[in-house]
């Protein structure tokens, strides 16, 4: 039955989020909380219930922060607990901070064996800066290598939270989950909401329902909202009428957000979502970072109406003659790693033009490194290389650190002399040849052969810096095609013809859309 929310006292409400490093058990803990409060049926085999998206289930990751409202009876009173599940991957930190702004507290989940990792640190600081109550939860105590005592000490050392505040659980087995709910009620304050004041709400997420329209997830800070109300967006000044209000048991519908891509995983997942939910083929461009250019003359400044322009699209990269100085964005990256990989990781960072800022031991075996990285050196495959170098043990997070001067050039990729718009890149001069060569090689591997030769070139201006060739087909016909082969062959041909429709034509060359993703993934550690 629908509860009457207007009768629910604010003091008995808690808004909280679960934050943690990837795979430390946020979603499993969310499942247990849902079961324990009767929100979902305990007898069913609940696995990552809030990961509704197909892409999330396929990859076993949380992409989109989901919300659920739980009702829980504790010591004679009924409480309303609003839970927001968040993604742990570094690529989704935007979603995390957005969710946190709707909460008053967080459960900080840490794996009892892995201990504090880079996102644990990053997420803690996000919550800390937002002045949220932090409840440390040590998870996976059921596993053989669990060492909760060690993790408690880490938490005390790095976050300055007393060890006795840590709650030790196994989300998988359901051990000690009630203590978590108790802590949420006792240690997280209710929201400070004044019902009588004018409405103030934060939209921390939205979805689109094809029957109902836009569904916004809001956190109410002041006032009351009911069906039929007219509300105004502070940002756009647009007015909307409220068709329906409700408590969320989420039902995911597609949404299109314009987001900059934070890395390969984010891009692949987003691309997959677009394909699955919209049944479209998507052409991807190489991820780029926002460069800046300081214009050289007063005339140019007048023309562009500012002295320092931001370059989002590499195709709009201004020529050297117009520019006094190019700037590239930099980030401060935090890497936590077992000591034995420190040397290799330092070499990797140096190869990415990074400058070391800090090095400290967080316990006997683990090191925290801080490097200043040019953002363009890490957007594509730094994370993957780092993981690979350290057998998966190193973790990584980063934050904005402004801009630095850089020697940048624009590089074009050509197929039989035709420029491929999507693959125009802005690259540091030092890296032009190696990046160009890599792109050409990857393209060569992912372009299907055609009936003519394909020349792949990377060029800076008119100068070719790298080149590969895809040879033409000399034979492409099924050898045996008798009675038993015909059905299979026809199926294959028709499937290939379907696939061909989705290919992009550059000149008269057919390019599969995943050629571009493949271009961006490097196998070796550079």
């Amino acid at each position: 039955e629908k509860p009457d929310m207007s009768k629910f006292p604010v003091e008995d409400t808690r808004n909280f989020s679960i934050i943690a490093h990837v795979d430390h058990g946020k979603s499993t803990l969310a499942d247990r909380l849902l079961e324990l409060t009767g929100t979902i049926d305990k007898t069913k085999n609940n696995k990552q219930v809030l990961d509704k998206l197909q892409v999330e289930r396929e990859r076993g990751i949380t992409v989109k922060a989901q919300t659920a409202s739980l009702f829980y009876n504790f010591e004679g009173k009924q409480y309303l607990l609003n839970l927001i599940d968040t993604p742990g991957h570094v690529d989704f930190s935007y979603e995390v901070s957005r969710s946190l702004s709707a909460c008053q507290g967080v459960l900080l989940v840490v794996d009892a064996n892995e201990g504090i990792q880079a996102q644990t640190v990053a997420n803690f600081f996000l919550a800390f800066e937002a002045q949220l109550s932090v409840i440390p939860v040590i998870n996976k105590i059921d596993l053989k290598n669990a060492d909760p005592g060690r993790v408690e000490k880490q938490i005390e050392k790095v976050f300055d939270i007393p060890s006795d505040e840590c709650i030790k659980i196994s989300a998988k087995l359901g051990t000690n989950i009630e203590s978590v709910l108790q802590a949420v009620i006792e240690r997280i304050p209710p929201p400070k909401v004044h019902r009588k004041n004018p409405l103030r709400a934060l939209v921390f997420d939205s979805t689109f329902d094809q029957y109902r329209g836009v569904v916004a997830n809001v956190a109410l800070f002041d006032g009351v909202v009911s069906k039929g109300d007219k509300i105004v967006s502070a940002h756009t000044q647009k007015t909307y009428e409220v068709n329906e209000v409700g408590v969320l048991i989420p039902n995911e519908q597609p949404t299109l957000k314009l987001l900059g891509f934070l890395g390969l995983l984010h891009m692949e997942v987003f691309n997959q979502r677009l394909e699955q939910e919209y049944n479209t083929s998507v052409i991807l461009t190489t991820p780029t970072v926002p460069y800046k250019a300081v214009l050289a003359s007063a005339k140019l400044i007048k023309e562009y109406r500012e002295k320092e322009i931001t370059i989002i699209n590499p195709a709009q990269f201004p020529d050297k003659s117009k520019v006094a100085e190019y700037l590239e964005p930099v980030v401060l990256g935090t890497i936590i790693t077992p000591d034995e990989y420190t040397g290799k990781i330092m070499a990797l960072c140096q190869a990415r033009r990074a400058v070391q800022k800090h090095l400290m031991f967080i316990d006997q075996n683990r090191v925290m490194l801080k490097y200043l990285f040019p953002l363009n050196e890490i957007v594509v495959d730094f994370y993957d290389s780092l993981k690979s170098l350290s057998s998966g043990y190193a973790s990584f997070d980063y934050e904005d650190a402004g801009y630095q001067t850089a020697d940048l050039v624009k590089m074009d990729i050509l197929l039989n002399g035709n420029i491929v718009e999507e693959l125009v890149t802005v690259v540091h001069k030092e890296k032009a040849h190696s990046v160009g060569k890599t792109i050409c090689e990857r393209l060569k591997d992912s372009l299907p052969r055609q009936l003519f030769e394909i020349a792949i070139q990377a060029a800076i201006g008119s100068k070719i810096v790298a080149r590969e060739t895809v040879k033409a087909y000399r034979k492409n016909v099924l050898a045996k095609c008798y009675g038993g082969d015909i059905t299979r062959k026809m199926k294959l041909l028709k499937r290939q013809a379907e696939g061909k429709k989705k290919l992009r034509k550059i000149g008269n060359i057919e390019v599969p859309k995943d050629a571009f993703i493949k271009v961006l993934k490097t196998q070796s550690n550079k």
Partner: protein
Amino acid sequence: MSQPLWPYCEKRCSYCNFNKYVVRGGVDEAALRRCLVTEARTLLELSGVRRVESVFFGGGTPSLASPHTVAALLEAVAQAAHLPADVEVTLEANPTSAPGPRLAEFGAAGVNRLSIGLQSLDDAELQLLGRTHSARDALRTLAAARRLFPGRVSVDLMLGLPGQQLGPWLGQLQELLRHCDDHLSLYQLSLERGTALFARVQRRAVPGPDPELAAEMYAEGRALLRAAGFRQYEVSNFARHGALSTHNWTYWQCGQYLGVGPGAHGRFVPHGAGGHTREARIQTLEPDNWMKEVTLFGHGTRKRVPLDELELLEEVLAMGLRTDVGITHQHWQQFEPQLTLWDVFGASAEVTGLRERGLLLLDHRGLRCSWEGLAVLDSLLLTLLPQLQEAWQQRSPTPVPGG
């Protein structure tokens, strides 16, 4: 025509992924024979076929079956339909060490054409392929076959094997030309997942085949055969003095064929059962299950898929272009009386592009590949098939008969 299958072999070749079974301790041939005969009768009735132009004994290794089975089957077909005196009856045979007498028995049973799975004249390659014969056995069998069935013997030769070089392979072909009859099939090796050879290549125990080299072998091989007076009438098939395979020609012309035996394929309209649509059929794969079904129901048809008009036209296109004559306007009209080949392909920019590059011809005779185009037919089809679909969808509706 009719196509019975004998699914048993002595052993499985390293590259083979067909529906084949290696039986230890002998096959109940009598039971299998009875079932083949029953199924042949049933399918002839179901199809309403009156006249059988060709019979092809495939498999497996049909030459392991007894000639008695071949005779029984031909007898059954002759009773249920008209088997003309000049019907082509082909048997697939593996070269063995004592070919003569056995082949003669098959001849007496009604076989009048032989297809020998020679594959290679290099003993090391034959071992790699897991064949049960030597190069010498092969040539001996070939000679015996030519004596028994002059002008009616075909040999298979493979190209693009792992580690093969152009020079030596051309040498094999030339050697073969000194011994062969009037029909030759050249097959590029295709590595199929699940075969022993595929696994060996994956393990790097054996180098993978080189597609560039295979393309060159094919180009040089077909040129050599043309110079020797052979007509390349299909992608992989070469004949001189008119010795084409009638049976295989039916596939590429989209005629009707009945598949009899475990795993056999067929395509026909079940007129005898009141049907009007051409169906793609496959018989149950596993021999024991197949026999049970034949005993119970008269035939062991596992799957029947009706082909709609467009699907049939797509087959006509894809199969017809495999031949040197391609698809004549008359041939096309039999399947599609309204839209001509010009209607479908004449205005397409992409198709015109292929014609201008000399890969495809569209003229008063019909649509066909050029010499160069035939080698890259599957690429051409990726342009032609969508064009056919588009033309089909945009055609004006056919007038309702009687309306």
